[in-house]
C-alpha cells in the first residue's frame, strides 16, 4: 500500500513537472481555505486566484521563482518556490495600518499619455532659477538653450532645436505674447514669481494658437487669483548690485470673485567691468511692472473669466563705463546705448462649459497690447511702437463620444507698427498687418495606448497671403511605461528683421536688405516644415526610478529671411534663402532618482544647423554642435513645520562654436575660426524655515569662465571693426546672489476652489 502511494506520488509529481505547473492551497491561520486570494509571479502580470477550496494552479514562470500571495485583510506573502506543491498560510492583519504614500514630485514632468511632446515645468522647477524673469527660468531645462545675445545689453536669448526664439511661439495662457516688437526683450518683462507653470512643446505645435510656431511652443500660466495665497514677498540681491522685489496681494471678495495685484520692481545700479574691456558687463537700469488680475468663477453655471490689466516700464543703459547719457547721447564722446520700453496690456478670457455636457465648451480670448521701445546704440537709432489686437474664439466638443474630440474656432489679429531705423540708412518701416483665420483640430484617443491630433487652419494675412497650415501629432504606447510620439507640421511667419536682431545694432556693421520685391522689408515670408520623433521609457533599475528620453527633430526651411553676418565683418545682409537651410537636433536625456530626494539628470544634445549663405553652405555661427547638461538636485525630508534644505547644481558644457567670419579684419581684430569648448556651473541652496519663510543663496558661472574678446575693437567703438554681437559665452565672471521668500497663507487652504478654467484645460489637453 505504501509503495503504491509512493508510486502514485512519484507519478503525480512527474505529471506536474511535465506540465510545469505549481499546485497549492491558501488558507488562513484557522486552516480555513481562502477563496479568491491573488497568486501571481513577482513583478509580472502572470497570476491566478484561488477557488472555493483555496486551491490554485499556476504555470511555472521562466522569469522568476518568487510567488506572491495576497488577500485583502491578510498580510501579503512572497515565497520562493522550490517544490511543485505548496501550501500557504496567510496571517490576518489585526488592524489595517494606515499607510502614507509619499512621492517626491518632480520639477518637470514628462507625460506618457499626452499626444504632443509636452513637458510641464512646475513651481518647483521654476524656483531653481532664483532669478528673476522668464528668460532666466530655463537654465535647469535641457530642452531649451539659453545664451547671451550680445556683450552690451545683457539680454538672454533662448533657443529650441537649434533655432532662436522668433521660431518659437511664446504665449501667455495661449495668447501669443512675445512676438513682433517684443521679440528681443519680451521674456525679461515677465517676472518669474508671476508664473505658475510653463508648458514646453517641442516641434510643430497646435494650430489653435496660430501659424507662426516652427520649432516649438512655450506657454506659461500666470498664478490664478482664486487659489493664490493672500500675500507673497520675494526679495533678491546679487553681487553685481542687481536688486529685485516682488509682492503679490490677493483678495477673495466672494467665492466667485477674486483678484491679485502683482507688483514688481528691479534695479541694477552696479557698474561692473569684470573682463576689463571698458564696457559694462551688463546694463544698469530699472523696471516697474504691475499686473492686476481678476478672476470670476461660477462653477455652477460653468463660467470662468479672467481680466488682466498690466503696465510695464523698463529702462536700460549700456555701453562704455564712462558713458553719461545726458552729455554723450548720440555723440562720439563715448559709446553708449539706452533702451526704454513701455508696455500696456489689457486682456480678457472667458470660458463657458455647458453644465450638462462637461465636454463641450466655448472660449473667448481678447488682448490689446501696446509695446513701445525707444532706443539708440552708439550713433544708430531704433524706435518701434507696436499696437496690436488679438482675438480668438474657440469651441470644443465631441463627435459621438469623448474618444473623438474637436476644437474649432476663429482668430483675428491686427498689428500696427511704427518702426523707424536710423543707421547707415534712415528709413521708416511703419506698416499695418492683419490676419483672419479659421481652424479645426480633431483629437482621437482610444482611451488606451493610441491617440492622434490632426489640425489645420486657413489664414488670410495682408502680407503673407492666403495659406493653409497643417499639423499632425501621433502618440502610441508600445508597452508599459513607454511612449513613441511623432509629429509633423508647417509654420509660416513674417520676420521682423530689426526687432529680432537688435544685438547687431551694437556693432558698426552696415545693414543691407538684398531683396526688394517682397512685402516684408522687401523679403518673402518664412516657411518651414518641422518633423519630429520622440521616445520615452520609464523603468526601475535596481529599485530606482529611471527615465530615458530620445528626441530627434528636423526643421526644413522652404524660405527663410537669412541673416548673414559671414559675408563680411562689416556687413549684415538680409535676403531670401536660396538653397538649403535646416536644423537637425538630437537629444538623449537620462534621469534617475538615485535615492529618496536625490535626482540626477543628464542630457547630451547634438545640433546640425546649416544655411546656404552667399559665401556657401555653412554651420550657423555661434551654435555649439555638441552640448552636455547635468543637474543634481537634493532635498531633505520636510519636517513638521515645513523646515527643509534644498540643493541644486547645474552644469552646462558647450562644444566648440563656429565664430562669424573676421579674417578680412586687421590681425588684432580677428577672432579664431572656432571658439573653444567651455563649461559653466550654477548652484543654489534653499533653506526653508517654515512653510511661510525661506531664504536662498546661489552662484552662477562659478567656474568663472569669461569670454575675453567679447567686443572687437572695444578701445575704439566708433571704428570700422567694432562689434559686440559675436558672443559665445558669458562675458561676466562668477556671480553670487541671495534672496528670500515670505508668504502669508489662508487660514483654511481653499484647495477645493481649484476649479480648472476651461481655457487652461485647453493648454494641457493639446
Amino acid at each position: 500500500m505504501f509503495k503504491n502511494i509512493a508510486f502514485l506520488l512519484f507519478f503525480v509529481s512527474q505529471f506536474i513537472y511535465s506540465q510545469e505547473t505549481i499546485k497549492g492551497i491558501v488558507t488562513d491561520e484557522n486552516n480555513q481555505p481562502l477563496l479568491g486570494a491573488n497568486v501571481f509571479w513577482f513583478n509580472t502580470a502572470v497570476g491566478t486566484t484561488t477557488d472555493e477550496n483555496g486551491n490554485f494552479t499556476i504555470k511555472k514562470s521562466p522569469e522568476t521563482s518568487s510567488l506572491v500571495i495576497s488577500y485583502i485583510g491578510f498580510e501579503t506573502q512572497k515565497i520562493d518556490v522550490v517544490n511543485n506543491t505548496i501550501s500557504v498560510i496567510l496571517k490576518e492583519v489585526k488592524t489595517l495600518k494606515e499607510v502614507t504614500i509619499t512621492k517626491t514630485k518632480k520639477g518637470t514632468e514628462h507625460s506618457l499619455y499626452k499626444v504632443q511632446n509636452i513637458q510641464v515645468m512646475g513651481q518647483k522647477e521654476l524656483l531653481k532659477a532664483a532669478c528673476c524673469n522668464l528668460s532666466e527660468s530655463f537654465s535647469t531645462n535641457p530642452s531649451i538653450d539659453v545664451n547671451f545675445s550680445d556683450a552690451v545689453t545683457g539680454n538672454r536669448q533662448i533657443k529650441m532645436l537649434g533655432l532662436t526664439s522668433p521660431y518659437i511661439l511664446i504665449a501667455e495662457e495661449n495668447i501669443p505674447s512675445v512676438r513682433g516688437a517684443s521679440q528681443a526683450y519680451g521674456l525679461s518683462f515677465v517676472p518669474g514669481t508671476w508664473v505658475e507653470s510653463i508648458q514646453i512643446t517641442k516641434g510643430a505645435g497646435s494650430v489653435i494658437n496660430g501659424y507662426e510656431s516652427i520649432s516649438g511652443q512655450i506657454n506659461y500660466e500666470v498664478l490664478k487669483p482664486s487659489n493664490d495665497i493672500p500675500f507673497f514677498l520675494n526679495a533678491y540681491a546679487s553681487q553685481d548690485e542687481r536688486y529685485e522685489i516682488n509682492t503679490h496681494f490677493n483678495n477673495k471678495f466672494s467665492d466667485k470673485l477674486s483678484s491679485t495685484l502683482f507688483l514688481h520692481g528691479n534695479t541694477r545700479v552696479g557698474k561692473n567691468d569684470m573682463n576689463n574691456d571698458g564696457f559694462l558687463d551688463g546694463p544698469i537700469g530699472k523696471q516697474v511692472n504691475i499686473l492686476n488680475r481678476w478672476q470670476y468663477n461660477d462653477a455652477e453655471n460653468g463660467i470662468v473669466s479672467f481680466l488682466n490689466v498690466r503696465y510695464m516700464n523698463d529702462e536700460k543703459q549700456a555701453g562704455e563705463m564712462s558713458f553719461n547719457p545726458d552729455t554723450d547721447r548720440l555723440t562720439t564722446n563715448a559709446w553708449g546705448s539706452e533702451i526704454n520700453t513701455e508696455k500696456i496690456e489689457i486682456s480678457n478670457k472667458t470660458g463657458y462649459v455647458f453644465p450638462d455636457m462637461p465636454y463641450q465648451s466655448f472660449g473667448f480670448q481678447n488682448s490689446f497690447q501696446s509695446h513701445k521701445q525707444d532706443s539708440y546704440f552708439g550713433l544708430s537709432q531704433y524706435d518701434i511702437h507696436q499696437k496690436s489686437f488679438y482675438s480668438n474664439l474657440l469651441f470644443n466638443s465631441i463627435i459621438n463620444n469623448t474618444k473623438n474630440k474637436f476644437t474649432t474656432g476663429l482668430n483675428f489679429s491686427y498689428d500696427d507698427y511704427n518702426e523707424f531705423v536710423a543707421m547707415n540708412f534712415n528709413r521708416d518701416f511703419s506698416r499695418i498687418d492683419n490676419s483672419v483665420g479659421a481652424f479645426f483640430e480633431y483629437t482621437y484617443d482610444n482611451s488606451d495606448n493610441f491617440s492622434l491630433v490632426a489640425g489645420a487652419r486657413v489664414d488670410n494675412h495682408n502680407r503673407l497671403g492666403t495659406f493653409v497650415t497643417p499639423r499632425l501629432h501621433i502618440r502610441y504606447n508600445p508597452w508599459k511605461e513607454a511612449v513613441i510620439r511623432a509629429s509633423a507640421g508647417r509654420g509660416k511667419r513674417a520676420a521682423n528683421i530689426f526687432a529680432e536682431n537688435q544685438q547687431l545694432f551694437a556693432s558698426n556693421r552696415n545693414f543691407s536688405i538684398l531683396n526688394t520685391d517682397g512685402k516684408l522689408y522687401g523679403l518673402n515670408p518664412e516657411i518651414a516644415w518641422n518633423y519630429g520623433l520622440s521616445f520615452i521609457q520609464k523603468f526601475k533599475l535596481v529599485g530606482k526610478d529611471v527615465e530615458v528620453i530620445l528626441d530627434y527633430y528636423r526643421t526644413d526651411f522652404q524660405n527663410q529671411a537669412v541673416v548673414d553676418i559671414d559675408a563680411s565683418p562689416q556687413d549684415v545682409l538680409f535676403y531670401n534663402l536660396k538653397g538649403n537651410s535646416f536644423a537637425n537636433s538630437f537629444q538623449a536625456e537620462f534621469s534617475v532618482d538615485l535615492m529618496t530626494h536625490l535626482t540626477f539628470k543628464t542630457a547630451y544634445k547634438y545640433y546640425d544647423v546649416q544655411t546656404q549663405f552667399v559665401t556657401g553652405q555653412m554651420q550657423r555661427a555661434l551654435q555649439a554642435k555638441h552640448r552636455v547638461f547635468g543637474n543634481l538636485a537634493y532635498e531633505t525630508h520636510i519636517k513638521d513645520k515645513g523646515q527643509q534644505w534644498k540643493f541644486d547644481v547645474t552644469y552646462n558644457w558647450l562644444g566648440e562654436q563656429r565664430l562669424p567670419y573676421t579674417q578680412s579684419n586687421p590681425v588684432q581684430y580677428r577672432l579664431d575660426e572656432y571658439a573653444k569648448a567651455f563649461g559653466t556651473l550654477n548652484a543654489q541652496i534653499t533653506r526653508t524655515f517654515s512653510s511661510t519663510f525661506e531664504v536662498y543663496v546661489g552662484g552662477e558661472n562659478m567656474g568663472n569662465y569669461k569670454q575675453m574678446n567679447g567686443i572687437v575693437q572695444n578701445e575704439n567703438p566708433f571704428g570700422t571693426y567694432f562689434d559686440s554681437s559675436m558672443i559665445y559665452g558669458p562675458t561676466f565672471g562668477a556671480m553670487y546672489y541671495a534672496g528670500l521668500r515670505f508668504k502669508i497663507k489662508d487660514k483654511k487652504q481653499n484647495h477645493e476652489i481649484e476649479e480648472l478654467a476651461p481655457v487652461k484645460e485647453e493648454a494641457h489637453n493639446h
Partner: protein, 115 residues
C-alpha cells in the same frame, strides 16, 4: 384671477410633464460597476463606448461608479450595463456570466455583486 392662476399652473404642470417625458440627448447617469484596477477601467470604459449613444464614460476605481453621459434617444443605461456585463463586470442592473468573469485577468477578479 383664480382661473388664470389655475391655468398658468396647469400650463406649467403640463410643460414639466412634457419635459419629463422628453428623452434627453445629454443624460447624466451613474451606477455601480464592480472592478478593481486600471485594467478593469480600460475594459469597462471600452465596453461602455461600444454602445451607440454613449458620449462620455468614466469609471472610478475608488468608489466603483461609472459616470455616463448618454443620448437617451439612442440607448438606455440598461443597454450600457448589459455591454459592461458582457465583458465580465457585474453592474447594479446586470450580473456578468460566470464564464465571462472567469476570463478576466487575475488582478481583475473583483468581489462579485450579490443579487
Amino acid at each position: 384671477m383664480k382661473r388664470i392662476v389655475l391655468l398658468v399652473l396647469a400650463c406649467i404642470f403640463s410643460f414639466t410633464m412634457v419635459a419629463q417625458e422628453k428623452k434627453s440627448k445629454n443624460k447624466k447617469v451613474e451606477f455601480k460597476v464592480a472592478g478593481n484596477c486600471e485594467m478593469c477601467e480600460k475594459r469597462i470604459e471600452k465596453a461602455a463606448y461600444s454602445v451607440k449613444g454613449v458620449k462620455s464614460a468614466e469609471w472610478h476605481a475608488d468608489h466603483g461608479d461609472i459616470h455616463l453621459i448618454i443620448d437617451e434617444t439612442k440607448c438606455s443605461k440598461e443597454d450600457v450595463a448589459k455591454a459592461i456585463a458582457a465583458v465580465g463586470h457585474d453592474t447594479q442592473f446586470t450580473k456578468a456570466k460566470d464564464e465571462d468573469y472567469d476570463k478576466l485577468h487575475g488582478c481583475c477578479n473583483y468581489e462579485r455583486i450579490e443579487k
